[in-house]
Amino acid sequence: MIRLTWLQFRAQAVTAAAALAAFAVLLAATGPHLASLYAADGLDSCHGGSSCLSPASYFTGSLSQSPYGVLFLLSTGVILLAPAVIGLFWGAPLIARELETGTAALAWNQSITRTRWLAIKLTVIGLTAIAVTEALCLMQTWWAAPISQAVADGSGAGVAQSRFSQLNFATHGITPLGYAAFAFALGVTAGALIRRTIPAMAITLAIFTALQVAMPLWVRPHLAPPDHTVRPLTSLGGAGPSQTGPGGDIFTLYALNIPGQPGAWVLSSGAVNAAGQPVSTTPAACTSVGGTGVSAGAQGRAFPPGQGPGAFVDCLASHGIREAITYQPASRYWRFQLTETAIYLALALALAGYCFRRLSRLS
């Protein structure tokens, strides 16, 4: 049965191998040059710490203008799409096409139980799906190592974002293999239920996409109880930690990162008063710092010359307003990776289990 599975899977396997090879060639051809740019910017000799901050920012900032920024997004896109493609083209037809073309009657009337037929198909193709996706991921991780290092050394800019950013978290580490296993099992299940390939593909794509959107937005932040910190406001100067967007009597506050917590994933941030309650109303004394509604958009507030946002922040700080941040520390990265991958693998196994039950009663 393993031989038959390979015989029938040969065309797809060849396609996957060709795609992997093309990906490898592209990254292998450009990777060394990207690394040399990293070195040329002085990042390999800065020994971490604040001395790296400036070259790192330069390096990540310049990515947006170089082909490497495009290549980074492109390769990231390939890893994001691979599980979906696998679910659609390997998963959905697995049972649906057999039923659609009637070949199920041929396959399931040989001297092999349907359970064994499915077990081998799922194992062989599922493991291939996992291997292909994870191989893409590892290749890109190697290629993008200078970018990841620059982000760790300095701060993210443009396409270069922290490991916890949605694009990076879903394309690095081990999450891609979880997605691949899940998408494949989802496709197989949809095919077994709907019994027609094309609708099963559509459903697979819809559900997988919905889950990939829902996961980072609503599930991932809660995989571990977040940490909280309240810290004084500091003036925004250059790459300061906070930005304020004063608008009329309302102001908002966003923390981008946390001093002393490099790479932390900021889930939410906001201003609190001295009693620790959230505030968004500008204290009366501060409304005069910078005029209202002068320019800078409908909701915006323009600051008078010589009075940057710093003066406004200083005014807020002098009224006891501090910044409350909810975040996941960078040290939890692998815990999050493991948890999310485990969730997807568990879902994949549950779907596979359902397929076995379904198949024993099918057609």
Partner: protein, 298 residues
């Protein structure tokens, strides 16, 4: 008593809205080439699919060669099945199909498979998708035969074939059956084909067995009587009227009886298999219940 090839009691299969087969009770004996004949929708395909285990019954019970269908590897190996439209993997070559058979069936008879492929003129390198309907049917039959099953189930295998391909297919089937003594259940609504190959007939109408028996016995016990107009009720006991038509002066009856017909008023002619089957298939004919040893469902 011999085990039955297929034995069903109160067997039913319902889909969401309708019953495909309902309350079907029958015994199909082993050691025959059984023709399962009936109009479209009688439940033939459903019955065969239940027998392969491709379908699970909604109610009732079915055993195949004394076992639950598809109960395990041994049972799967004992039953061969050629589905309607004789499916094959379009992108796989003929030779690949034979490899599939060899890989998946411990009892695979590769000599038989290769011989048959050569005999029917299939190119091993050709992809199944480019085969004609007749060639594909031969491929499907070869797969089922080379598995060396005890029981071969064929669901309308020749329905889509032209007359020549049909004859080739049935001849191949008969040769193989004669060689290996396989029991066969063949469903069809083409009576002429059944006549050629079957020695046992079951007429299934709306899930009910209307008549079942060996073809020779059925032909011996059915007669067409023609004579002066006469009410069927006046026939002697033991003569069951299956079909009747009357003109002003004449009556034509199709009668089932084990006794010879002595009444000199009748002109007695034998019936053909086709006439017999059509008479039993006609839902307008009210078939009198009798002779449970032939497996007639009441």
């Amino acid at each position: 008593m011999m085990t039955a090839a297929i034995e069903a009691s109160g067997l039913g299969k319902a889909y969401r809205r309708a019953w495909a087969l309902r309350d079907c009770t029958l015994v199909i004996p082993e050691g025959h080439v059984v023709g399962l004949v009936g109009p479209n929708g009688a439940g033939k395909t459903t019955l065969l699919r239940l027998a392969t285990g491709m379908l699970a019954p909604t109610c009732g019970a079915i055993t195949v060669l004394g076992q639950r269908p598809a109960a395990g590897l041994a049972q799967l190996a004992r039953v061969g099945y050629v589905a309607q439209d004789t499916p094959a993997y379009a992108r796989m070559r003929v030779a690949d199909h034979l490899r599939l058979g060899a890989w998946l069936n411990p009892g695979w008879d590769d000599g038989l498979a290769q011989r048959r492929i050569a005999q029917v003129g299939l190119d091993p390198k050709q992809r199944a998708g480019s085969l004609s309907g007749g060639q594909r049917a031969q491929l499907a039959l070869t797969l089922a035969l080379a598995k060396r099953p005890e029981l071969l189930l064929l669901d309308e295998p020749v329905a889509g074939l032209d007359p020549l391909a049909r004859r080739e297919f049935l001849r191949g089937l008969m040769e193989a059956v004669a060689e290996h003594g396989t029991s066969v259940v063949l469903s069809s609504h083409l009576v002429t084909d059944l006549e050629r190959v079957c020695d046992y007939l079951i007429v299934l109408v709306a899930s009910r067995v209307r008549i079942a028996g060996e073809v020779s016995e059925l032909l011996a016990s059915h007669h067409r009587l023609a004579g002066p107009r006469r009410a069927p009720g006046t026939l002697p006991a033991g003569q069951d009227v299956i079909e009747q038509s009357h003109t002003d002066k004449q009556s034509t009856l199709l009668v089932r009886t084990d006794e010879p017909i002595h009444d000199p008023a009748w002109t007695v002619t034998p019936v053909s298999t086709e006439e017999l089957v059509l008479a039993y298939m006609n839902p307008a004919n009210d078939i009198p219940a009798r002779r449970p040893q032939l497996g007639v469902a009441s």
